[in-house]
């Protein structure tokens, strides 16, 4: 109880710090310089309608690469721990017949929706991460429906690796070919503003991110379901 009271006191102190900020907080009325540049010059510079996307993929592309790396590392840790403590003969309860049928039906639809989300990331809200998450949820559904079915874990890892490699390679191409900079999306023509095939590399990179995130999240889910990649091999 004393501990709780003390905890309360300390969180109160933290709350006071936050309150300090809240009291001095005034909603912005104008954009900071950099943000204003993104909004005003961004579409012309990078050709992407969704400014958030151009910030994520290009202006702050290194963050995004890092973010993908974090997911990659998280997936690797999950894989590692499951691999080290594999439990070969666990039997999982099968999902209901309805769930199975529904998942079989929904799986391709959800995949397509995911693809749509990341392909249109430069035009509308959405992008690689959201699309990847949607793809992963399709996998979740399948795993729920038939937990004992072997999912193509190897396929996932190949997709993951290739999309990752392609991402890094395209990024490096930005530095190497055009000598502008790492992750520059302008190494191919920007195309016509507002169309699917525009904004240079952005849709391609977002697709790769989508594939990579999707496969990573899927393997996290599958791993947590208790499968290892080696099981898949046998």
């Amino acid at each position: 109880m004393i501990k709780k009271a003390f905890t309360f006191l300390m969180l109160g102190g933290l709350g006071a710090m936050l309150l300090n900020f809240i009291l001095s907080f005034r909603e912005r009325t104008a954009l900071p310089e950099v943000a204003a540049h993104y909004i005003e010059k961004g579409p012309a510079e990078l050709g992407s309608a969704n400014i958030v996307t151009s910030v994520v993929v290009t202006y702050r592309g290194l963050d995004t690469l890092g973010e993908v790396t974090i997911l990659f590392a998280a997936a690797a840790v999950v894989g590692l721990l499951i691999h080290l403590n594999r439990n070969e003969n666990a039997v999982r309860r099968e999902g209901s017949e309805i769930l199975k049928t529904a998942s079989a039906l929904l799986f391709p639809l959800i995949l397509m929706f995911g693809a749509y989300v990341f392909l249109n990331g430069h035009l509308s809200p959405g992008g690689g991460f959201q699309g990847g998450a949607i793809i992963a949820s399709a996998v979740v559904l399948t795993v729920l429906a038939s937990p004992n079915r072997k999912i193509g874990h190897t396929v996932l890892s190949v997709i993951e690796s290739i999309s990752g490699l392609a991402y890094v390679a395209l990024g490096a191409a930005g530095a190497l070919l055009v000598a502008n900079g790492f992750l520059d999306n302008r190494i191919i023509p920007l195309g016509e503003f507002g169309t699917l095939f525009s904004a240079g590399l952005i849709p391609i990179i977002y697709t790769l991110i989508g594939l990579k995130v999707g496969s990573e999240l899927s393997s996290v889910v599958i791993s947590l379901n208790g499968e290892t990649i080696e099981e898949d091999d046998q």
């Binding site: 666990a90 959405g126 991460f129 959201q130 998450a133 949607i134 889910v221 947590l224």
Partner: protein, 96 residues
């Protein structure tokens, strides 16, 4: 708009408090997910559709899924090892 925002904000906090207060792990996880969902509505109102989508799909959706997979695994092992989760949680309840 502000009233709506305020109401949803209140809901967000309430769900968070629910996650804190309930005794059942599963309900707690669900309430945590709901917090994320309400927050994503707030994001939409704040003109951040990208964030809202992400929060809904990842922060709330997938995260909750992963929680459930983990819980499922724990429960399954529970049966395997005959560990008594209920016992453990009961004890922690008494101690609270």
């Amino acid at each position: 708009m502000e009233i709506l925002f305020l109401i949803i904000s209140v809901f967000t906090v309430i769900t968070a408090l629910t996650a804190l207060a309930v005794k059942d792990r599963v309900v707690s996880v669900l309430a945590g997910g709901a917090t994320g969902l309400f927050a994503s509505i707030l994001f939409i109102i704040m003109a951040a559709p990208d964030v809202a989508m992400t929060e809904a799909a990842i922060g709330s959706g997938l995260t909750t899924f992963i929680f459930f997979f983990a819980l499922r695994k724990i429960r399954r092992n529970d049966q395997d090892h005959s560990y008594k989760v209920s016992e453990v949680t009961n004890r922690s309840r008494e101690n609270d």
